[in-house]
Amino acid sequence: MFELKPMLSALWRNKISALLIAVQLALTLAIVSNATVIVQDRLEKMARPTGIAVSDIISVTFMPVPVNYDMAGAVAADLELLRNMPGVVDATVTNQIPLSGSGSASTYFTEPNQEIGGENANYYQTDEHFIDTLGLNLVAGRNFTRADFDVIGPNDTYEPRVAIITQKFADVMFPGEDAVGKYFYSGGDGEPREIIGVVERHLGAWPSWSKAGQVAFYPLLVTGNHKRYLIRTEPGQRDTVYKQIEEKLAERDPQRVIHLDTLSKRMAQSYISDNVMVKVLSAVMTLLTFIVALGIIGLTIFWINQRNKQIGVRRALGATRANISRYFLVENTLIAGAGLAIGMAAAQVINHFMVNQFSQPVLSIPTLLVCALILLGVSVTAALVPAIRAANISPAMATRSV
């Protein structure tokens, strides 16, 4: 009923054109499926929860101009001022801005005086307001108190006594155990740091780091030549507060340079390369599919024009319109099917190369099949319009120029 035999012999006579369409679809599938896994991988990476109320947070970096500056006094006065601003939920001081791509990390151990086999964690020096300011969720233990908080100079030797860590770091250091009340150590050091609390999640300074999410917090202010604040505003108030901060801080103390950013912007900057990858690959996939579809339309129209007479004869001999349309659609499906089959093999080969050479994600069979089905759909849809037009060729064509 699908007239396969005459169709195949007709295809054989046009084998080059058929082959060209099949090759296009094969290459397209190989590219699109590999691009799809990369895009999926990056989208998942960017969608990971940060544990932080990113969209409500403003970061401030400031550098005082005078040489002998009372940093501890300035921080206390600034935070007092910021926390009392309308629209501000809370504010905290920090050595680094989370998710910004710059931060500090160290290696930690579960036993004193160890030097090998430690675990890495990103660390922050902050105060007891950091949980509220960042919107973190304290799942065990307690927050810092003012009594835990210390102020030291940049060159002072100092070992923190207490720390709050993320659940992820707790699971790495003390798998299957309750971390609260446990101690951990800096390398080659015997000074114990007590874990007094665990927060559910904090992605840390470097979202692309293999250990992202392993974070420790200490209640500490290290005075130095610049300091940073994080300010959390009421939802929707961020931009209003943003405009007032620089003026307020400058009003309190004009002898400094202030730099403001939103945490959303800093996070977007950290994800630039992933975002570029997603957008460029999506554009490539869309354009490619579009180009291939246009090519199929062009070639099908050409074929049908070539075979006007043949169609006319078939119509005159009693073939229905549906028969004619179906002929071209089945023909297209055959070609596309063959091309996509080759494409699946090519996709696997290319993916192997991508995984080994460029450490990209592995292409799964379901993803490959879905891509193949979508391309088959595109191909058939592209053939649909010319095929329906072909059915309108009048049987009189058969008799015209013979």
Partner: protein
């Protein structure tokens, strides 16, 4: 004859507007996508120090953790400790040598309305300007003595001089950095190598620094690096002096060695330095150091990332699909005109003439597609600039070489696409077409 073929080609393109548009569009999109990605990769692969590639070397020493190699491709820390950098500076073997790192200062002027701002600074030895061929507009660098003792002098970038002094010759004037007076000794011309080969630790596509400060001021200002500081040893010594004499790496080091003999001599010197340090209990790992040329340094630092290579390959595959697409469409178009070719053959045109005529028609499509492709890649680069939030503005732009490459690529692609269809049409037997007419 070629002129005639071109006019035939244009007439033929107008004769089948839909097919022609599709073909031009296919080539244009292929070239556009390809050139967008290739331009980025090409600009990221530039070596601003190519002209001194044989004489400049980045220095790495392995004084890292005895228990674990440094986490870099060649298992050597990227930077040096302060104590090693100052020890190497004492050598008189290199023609020039630079110890440096990134920093920042607040900038203010006495009796001025200027708003204080933070300036990106490079703390460096005086050889920086000569070694990296930095051009001076006015003045010059500080005395070499300022690299060893605290001398408050500064070299400004042209942009900083414009910003602070309105572009006047400010040599001899004073600006305040972190509240301390510094005398301006020189102003450099616009100088912005991209990628920033001399400092790849701190985003390779960032702009170069706004001010340059002598290396002798660390103790006076208790300067820490604004770039990466990596450590492995936890044995803290007291105070800032402890930091300077500690095992943290934060100093970037380059040398200029003009001959093989000089290089050999310097390698001996480095070996000697490490041996001497081993005697003092440092450098417990196997003796290892590296001198990398700028071109090698760029590769080692993976300035062109895996992601960029993936995009490069994918865009070439994309162009391939567009070429196959164009082959199919050209074949359809030429076969449709087969009767015309038949008549020409019957009237005496050789197969070669028919072949050439059709190839020229394909290259016309190529040139049109290429021109459109350039516009598309400019759009594409604009898009990438937007996505990158201003981080790669310098590299997301085409130079004339890339424009030529785009047209070349388009013509090559369309010639490749035209080869088979033109051959096929030149082989058809004229008699079939003469009969049916």
């Amino acid at each position: 004859m070629i002129g005639y073929y071109i006019s035939l080609a244009m007439r033929s393109l107008r004769g089948t507007p839909i097919l022609s548009t599709l073909m031009i569009a296919a080539i244009a999109v292929g070239v556009g996508a390809c050139m967008t990605v290739l331009t980025l990769n090409y600009m990221m692969s530039q070596n601003a120090l190519a002209h001194k590639d044989d004489v400049l070397y980045a220095v790495q020493l392995d004084g890292w953790d005895p228990n674990e190699a440094a986490d870099t491709p060649n298992e050597l820390p990227w930077q040096l400790t302060y104590q090693d950098a100052t020890a190497l500076l004492r050598s008189d073997i290199p023609t020039r040598q630079v110890a440096m790192h990134r920093f920042g200062f607040t900038v203010t002027l006495d009796e001025s309305e200027m708003r204080p701002f933070t300036a990106e600074a490079r703390i460096t030895t005086a050889d920086f300007f000569g070694l990296f061929d930095v051009p001076f507009l006015f003045g010059g660098t500080w005395d070499a003595a300022a690299d060893l003792s605290p001398v408050q002098q500064v070299v400004l970038s042209k942009a900083t001089n414009d910003k602070v002094f309105g572009g006047e010759i400010s040599v001899g004037k004073t600006i305040n950095l972190n509240g301390e007076p510094f005398t301006v000794v020189g102003i450099i011309d616009h100088w912005d190598p991209s990628p920033k080969v001399y400092d790849l630790n701190n985003s390779p596509f960032a702009e170069s620094e706004e001010i340059y400060i002598p290396f002798g001021l660390h103790r006076k200002f208790e300067i820490f690096s604004w770039g990466n500081t990596n450590g492995w040893s936890h044995s803290n010594e007291e105070g800032y002096e402890g930091f300077l004499q500690g095992e943290s790496v934060w100093i970037q080091y380059w040398v200029e060695l003009d001959s093989a003999a000089q290089k050999e001599k310097y390698e001996e010197f480095l070996t000697g330095h490490i041996r001497q340090q081993k005697e003092q209990g440092r450098f417990q790992r196997p003796l290892k150091f590296a001198l990398s040329k700028p071109s090698e340094w760029l590769v080692l630092n993976e300035v062109l990332r895996d992601d960029n290579r993936v995009l490069g390959w994918l865009s070439l595959a994309f162009l391939l699909v567009c070429v196959v697409n164009a082959v199919a469409l050209l074949l359809a178009k030429f076969l449709r005109k087969a009767p015309e070719a038949g008549v020409r053959r019957a009237l005496g045109a050789s197969r070669n003439a028919i072949f050439i005529q059709h190839l020229i028609e394909s290259s016309c499509i190529g040139v049109l597609g290429g021109l459109l492709g350039i516009l598309l890649s400019l759009l594409g680069l604009g898009g990438v600039r937007q996505l990158a939030m201003g981080k790669i503005d310098q590299i997301a732009s085409m130079d004339w070489l890339m424009v030529l490459a785009a047209i070349g690529l388009a013509v090559l692609a369309s010639l490749l696409a035209g080869l088979y269809p033109a051959w096929r049409i030149s082989r058809t037997n004229p008699s079939i077409y003469l009969k049916t007419q």
